[in-house]
Amino acid sequence: MSAMILGFALVYAQFALILSLALACWRMLRGPRAQDRVLGLDTMYVNAMLLFLLVGMGNGNVFFFESALVIAVLGFVTTVCAAKFLMRGEVIE
């Protein structure tokens, strides 16, 4: 009973996140200006982090949590570096 409910919800959530990842990837490839591409990449990072959390929940494995944390940290650093590059023209002054 509970496995059926949870399995259905987890599969639906994973498909929704994959679709959202594809939409953000479309924005990253298409985006008319550079900041739109950075925005799409940032959204892709968040979606990938949530997808890792969901896969960890589906497997009952706690160790997917660390990879989700690493993806969150990498997304933050990437977005800050890209925004700083867009603003100043260089990352480290």
Partner: protein
């Protein structure tokens, strides 16, 4: 999925609701990132994935692992606190960079929006000799 059978049904329903609503919110954010017209509107859509999606998924994950291991598992709070702390930083830096780039390119902040959304069905006056602004007429320009 053997471990999912150990959960009581009320917890399964709560976790499933949290996961489904969070994923739907994230999908809404992705749709907004694609569908909205200007960059400053897309910034708002992306925040939906950050706040609602992350919060609900983390609540579901904490509840599930706490019930499975019959102790309080709270390490997903690290991701929540990290996302809450870093989201304003990234959004602020990205919007400031976009503002500066728009100012350098002599664009107003809503000039990427196609003009039929703002001006309605107003036709250009044929008597006026001013040509239409090419920046507002071409919303999908190549990358600058």
């Amino acid at each position: 999925m053997r471990h999912l059978e150990q959960l009581p049904p009320w917890a399964a329903i709560i976790i499933a609701l949290c996961v489904a609503i969070g994923a739907s919110m994230t999908l809404l954010g992705g749709l907004g990132v694609v569908r909205l017209k200007s960059f400053y509107q897309r910034l708002h859509a992306q925040t939906l994935a950050y706040s609602a999606g992350t919060l609900l998924t983390i609540i579901a994950s904490m509840l599930m692992f706490s019930l499975l291991e019959s102790r309080t598992v709270l390490h997903e709070l690290i991701i929540g606190v990290f996302v809450i702390v870093t989201t304003p930083v990234t959004t602020l830096m990205l919007s400031r960079a976009a503002l500066r780039r728009d100012r350098d390119a002599k664009l107003g902040h809503d000039e990427i929006v196609p003009p039929q959304r703002r001006a309605g069905p107003a036709k250009p006056d044929p008597a006026s000799a001013t040509p239409p602004i090419p920046a507002a007429a071409a919303p999908d320009r190549p990358d600058r």
